[in-house]
Structures are given as structure tokens and as C-alpha cells.
């Protein structure tokens, strides 16, 4: 019999009950709640007169709707304010701990939880948000769920699920200077497409993945959903354990020692067999830039906008034509000639301290191009913001003409006041370039933090590998 994958181990340790058809009741260790996908779940609970099964397994924060400046003044949009207040009220009523809007630990739910030690290796983690895959970077089984499932987890601490197939993305080699986890994951999506991982749990492995910091691994797992996979994960190693040690909610003393011993088994066995395998060479990856309205519409900085005439089939041709029309791009335009109106550095993909450092390194001593209207830098959480300020990164950004904001989802999905106007073009470090994602009619190009920062300075996309060091 072959060995077990990391996914097998995580799955098996959480099975409560299995039906004859394979549908499984899975135990959930941690549920993360935010204001957008939880109100109807709490309402359902209340209507049925139910109580949460295990209150301390839940933690909440407000992130999607919160303003990124003048927070003391509260939320001016009454509908958004009601939603955030509803979360506050629900948490108070049901006794769930919440990092409310003005708590210093508040942040994007997927930045906040690992940072506080609320995500621990070996856990099952769910949230009413598709980017829950992020937490897989710590060797967890983490996936996004809908609101009815949020209610189900609140009421039962379990979820009905069916085991996915397993895929391993093995990355050999070393990422070049200036090439990051974001470029790697965009390159993977470019290879397998946005549905390539549908029905799979993806494990990212190999020397180039092990060489990544935990922040980089989070960026990688974060976008597993953009490849269609509900969960992405990375095996536990010293990097993971070092990251978790000393976090507020991490175990201490004898419990810590016992936990670490158990966590050391959280990797795929050498003889484990995957249902699908993909091999990538990190050394061959150049900085990536998306040109269309789906993350799979991506090329590298040396490339050009494709010509629909060269599409593989009629469906793809139509997709490309629609994307180019929406994006206002001509076939064969070199990527480096695309000019941007705005730049967004933030989101659960790229708003951790390491991302801000990478951006600041590019910006130091320079100023944004006059043609760039606005550059938003939105840290992922209160602690990230405090750390960046302690390192003086905020000053570097401000001196470059960038705006330094308060933590939240911000222009990743533009539910608050931060958004693109129709036709505006944006270099963004977020994860989705869908039509209208950053504002109706807005045009999004997904890139790494260093590439976004360089585009802000140059006014167009540039190859950050050849960017002069300051």
C-alpha cells in the first residue's frame, strides 16, 4: 500500500462519520467569520432557536466593508455600516470573540488569523470566503464555504464534504531575484487554467516551495482557488513551526511541545501517490502580468497581449475577444507598453509585511509617475501596519506620493469607497481581474508587489528584475 498524502492525513484526522455514498461529516477546528457572509447565517441560527456548538472555535473580524481612512469617523455608507454593526451585534449576542473595526488586531481575515496563531498546523479551517485556501500554507486543510454552510458549522462544528482528488504541484529550482510567490502561482494558473484544479486539493511542494517564507506560501495557497481548487496546502517544516511559535493564540509550554511533535508528521509520505502531478521549474519563471479578465489570461513581462486569431478554439477566441474589448487592449501590444492609471498594493494575497517590504525596496527614493492618479498601499492587518511603520516603510511610500491606509480588503473588491472609475487601468497585487471587480468598468492587471510598485514609478509595466537598485 502506498503512503499517505498530506491531504489524506488532514482529512482522515477530521472524519466524524461517513455515509455509504462517501459523503463525509468532517470536523471543523476553526471557523473565521466576517461581515459579508455571516449575517444570514446568524439569522438562520436565531430563527431556529439554535446555539453555536463550540463558541471558542469561532473568531470574527470586519474586513470587506471597512473604510481605509478616517476610521474614527465611522462608516459613512449606511448599508455597509449596518452590515458591520450586525456582525458586532451577532458576536456579542452569541459570545463569539471579534476583532472589531477599531481593534488593533483587526485585519483581512486571512492575514489576521495566521498572524494571531488562530490558524494552527493540522487544523481544518473554514470561512465564508473563497480565499480561505490561504491558511493551507500552515499545513492545514482550509477551504471556503457558503453562508448556509457557515450556519451549519456554527450549529454543528461540522460540514458535509466529499474527499477531493489530490494534485501535487512540484516546483524545482530557485526563483530569480525579483520573482516572487505571486509570479509562481500566476504561472501555475497560466499552465493549468482557472478550472485546472477543480475537484482537486493541491499540495505545493518541491525545493522552490520549501525555500519560500510562510508569507510567500500563503500567497501561493491563496490563489489555489483561482486555479479552481478549493484548497491549497504546503507541508509543515521548520519555517512553519518558527512562524507559529510565540503567536498570541499558539499553544505554550508542554502543549506546544506536544503540538510540534504531532505537526512534524504533517507532510506527504515519500511513497504517496497523487491523482495528478504538475512539475514547474522556478528558474524559468519571469515576472507575470495578467492581460485579461480571468487569472489564466496571463503572460510574462517580456510578452505581449495575445491575438484572438491564434486562440485554440472558437470558445477561447470569443473569450479573448471579449476580454480585450473590456480591457481596451489591442492584440500584440507589448506588456511593457501598457500604462496604468492607478496602483493597488494590498489584499489577502499580498498585504503582509514581506509584501510591503518588497514594494518599498523598489520605491525607496523615487516618486510615482505624474500620469498615475492614485497609488493605494493597504496593509493586511493592524499588526502589519504597525510593523511597517516601525520599519519606516510608510514614510517611503508617502514620500513617493503613495497613500498609506488602514487595513482591510479595500480595492481588492471595492465594496468600500476605494475603487476604479469606468475605464481606469490598475496594476493590482490582489487575486481577481474579473470584469468590474475593482469597480464597474475598471481594468485590472494582476502582478506581484514589486511589479506593482515599479509600475507606479514608471507609469507602465516594467521588468522589475532589471529595475535599478536604489
Amino acid at each position: 500500500m502506498s503512503g499517505k498524502t498530506l491531504y489524506d492525513k488532514l482529512w482522515e484526522s477530521h472524519v466524524v462519520h461517513t455515509e455509504a455514498d462517501g459523503s463525509t461529516l468532517l470536523y471543523i477546528d476553526r471557523q473565521l467569520l466576517h461581515e459579508v457572509t455571516s449575517p444570514q447565517a446568524f439569522a438562520g441560527l436565531r430563527a431556529a432557536g439554535r446555539k453555536p456548538w463550540r463558541i471558542t472555535a469561532n473568531i470574527a473580524t470586519a474586513d470587506h466593508n471597512v473604510p481605509t481612512r478616517d476610521r474614527a469617523a465611522g462608516i459613512s455608507d449606511p448599508v455597509a455600516r449596518l452590515q458591520v454593526e450586525t456582525l458586532d451585534r451577532n458576536c456579542a449576542e452569541f459570545g463569539i470573540e471579534e476583532f472589531a473595526m477599531n481593534d488593533r488586531r483587526q485585519g483581512i481575515v486571512h492575514v489576521m488569523a495566521p498572524e494571531q496563531g488562530l490558524t494552527l498546523p493540522g487544523m481544518t479551517v473554514v470561512c465564508g470566503d473563497s480565499h480561505t485556501a490561504t491558511h493551507g500554507a500552515l499545513g492545514t486543510l482550509a477551504f471556503g464555504i457558503g453562508t448556509t454552510e457557515v450556519e451549519h458549522v456554527l450549529a454543528t462544528q461540522c460540514l458535509w464534504a466529499r474527499k477531493s482528488r489530490s494534485m501535487r504541484v512540484w516546483v524545482d529550482g530557485v526563483l530569480a531575484q525579483g520573482v516572487s510567490a505571486k509570479d509562481l502561482v500566476l504561472a501555475v494558473i497560466g499552465r493549468i487554467g482557472t478550472a485546472g484544479g477543480t475537484g482537486y486539493a493541491i499540495e505545493f511542494a518541491g525545493p522552490a516551495v520549501q525555500a519560500l517564507s510562510l508569507e510567500g506560501r500563503m500567497t501561493l495557497c491563496n490563489m489555489a482557488i483561482e486555479a479552481g481548487a478549493r484548497s491549497g496546502m504546503v507541508a509543515v517544516d521548520e519555517t512553519t513551526i518558527d512562524y507559529v511559535r510565540g503567536r498570541s493564540y499558539a499553544p505554550v509550554g508542554a502543549l506546544w511541545d506536544a503540538a510540534v511533535e504531532a505537526w512534524r508528521d504533517l507532510h506527504s509520505d515519500a511513497d504517496a501517490v497523487f491523482d495528478a502531478e504538475l512539475r514547474m521549474d522556478a528558474g524559468a519563471i519571469a515576472p507575470q502580468v495578467t492581460w485579461g479578465t480571468s487569472p489564466e489570461m496571463v503572460t510574462d513581462i517580456r510578452g505581449q497581449v495575445p491575438d484572438p486569431a491564434q486562440a485554440a478554439d472558437a470558445t477561447q477566441r470569443k473569450g479573448w475577444e471579449e476580454a480585450l474589448a473590456y480591457m481596451g487592449l489591442q492584440p500584440a501590444t507589448p506588456i511593457q507598453e501598457i500604462r496604468v492609471d492607478k496602483v493597488f498594493i494590498g489584499s489577502c494575497t499580498n498585504a503582509r509585511i514581506e509584501d510591503l517590504r518588497a514594494a518599498a525596496a523598489v520605491v525607496r527614493g523615487r516618486h510615482k509617475a505624474a500620469s498615475v492618479r492614485e497609488v493605494l498601499v493597504v496593509p493586511g492587518s493592524g499588526p502589519v501596519k504597525a510593523q511597517a511603520e516601525a520599519e519606516g516603510l510608510d514614510r517611503i511610500f508617502r514620500e513617493a506620493g503613495f497613500e498609506w491606509r488602514d487595513p482591510g480588503c479595500s480595492m481588492c473588491l471595492a465594496m468600500n469607497a476605494d475603487r476604479l472609475e469606468p475605464g481606469e487601468r490598475c496594476a493590482a497585487t490582489s487575486n481577481r481581474n474579473f470584469e468590474g471587480r475593482q469597480g464597474a468598468g475598471g481594468r485590472t492587471h494582476l502582478v506581484s508587489p514589486a511589479m506593482a510598485a515599479a509600475a507606479a514609478i514608471a507609469g507602465h509595466f516594467v521588468d522589475v528584475r532589471h529595475w535599478p537598485a536604489s
Binding site: V16, H17, E19, D21, S23, L25, Y27, D29, T37, Q40, A43, R50, T56, H64, N65, L82, Q83, T86, E97, Q116, L118, L120, G122, M123, G128, D129, S130, G144, I145, G146, T148, E149, H152, A155, T156, Q157, C158, W160, R162, T194, A195, T198, G228, R230, S248, Y249, L255, W256, A259, A262, S294, T315, G319, L413, A414, M415, R432, F434, E435, G436
Partner: protein, 215 residues
Amino acid sequence: MQTFTVVEAVVAPLDRPNVDTDAIIPKQFLKTVDRQGLGVHLFEAWRYLEKGGVQVPNPDFVLNQPRFAGVQILLARENFGCGSSREHAPWALADYGFRAIIAPSFADIFYNNCLKNGILPLRLASDVVDHLFHEVRAAPGYRLRIDLPAQEVQTMGDSRYHFAIEASHKHKLVHGLDDIELTLALGDAIGAYEARRSREAPWLFSSPPARRRGV
């Protein structure tokens, strides 16, 4: 939850691959704290045009065409419902009146969310879907009959296509069952799991909010 047994209804074709949840229901409507009332915003960006500051129906968009009035079945392309986990997408589809979506493939989270809201996400092979697109375009008033107990799609020309669905999903849809009630019936098993797990991995059960060291 509304039960789903047999639905016979008008079909509308939406001929685009990778229709994402942002397209199904844009984020400005996610601020609601209710499940109802989202149908008017379904496919908002495609469905309406701005004219002098007011929204008017876009006559080119499929759902605005009179021949698709009363539609309950959506015919779609691959990877339908990709993107975010927002259940607002199936809520909007249900509120508009959709009972079933036929596509070659669906994004995983969206697929699950449909099932929780009495919508049948139904997979058929690409060539069959292609063929149905052909038929629906050619015949105004085109209808399909979906028989969930028999797991069959029937055309008015009496072609029949079998489709697969997990037994438990089918059972819950046919009977309109509430998942939570079923799961709570397994409460003893959940309790037993917790007792065992808290011995094996006690750090997962040591009530965390007690400590505050800050990061």
C-alpha cells in the same frame, strides 16, 4: 428548502465560459443582511445599460428577450460560478426564478451553494450541452423537462440524457431536507469525536481567548 423533483420549463442560454460570481451578482449587493430580493440584480452588469443616469434593460442580454420570459432553467458553459464563495449568487438565481443550471462543469463552492438553495446544478457532457445550445437557439419557447428522481433531462423531441449526482445530494434535494437537522441527529458521534480528539490533540481544545500577549 424547496423540494426538487420534476421541473419542466423554458430554457435560456448564456453562452460564455467561466461565468464568475462577480458577474452573477456584483459586490455592491453583498452588503445586504437578507437572502431575498437579489433577483433584480442578477447579472446586473450585462443586464442593464446606463442611459442618461438611469438604468434600462439591455435588449441584447438574453434574459431581457421576451422569448425567455418565465425561464427556470439556465444553459451555461464550463466552469460556471467560479470565483468567490458568495451564496448571494445562488440566492440571486433562485430569487429570479431559476431552478436548475445545466453546464459541462461548475466551480466547486458554487455547486455546493446551489444544492443548499434548492437549485439543481446539472452536469452534462460538453457535446450534449453544445447540442442543447443549438436547439434552444433554433426553437423559440424551447423547454426541457428535468426529472431528478430518474436523473434524466428530457427534450420535447424526446431525447433523454442521463446525468450523475451524488445520492446524498439527490436525497436532500428531492425531500427538501435541512442539513443541520440531519447533522444534529449525529450529535453523539460529534461529541465522541471531540472527546477523542481533545485527548490526542489537546492544544486544539484549550480555550484560546484566555491569553493576550499581542504580536
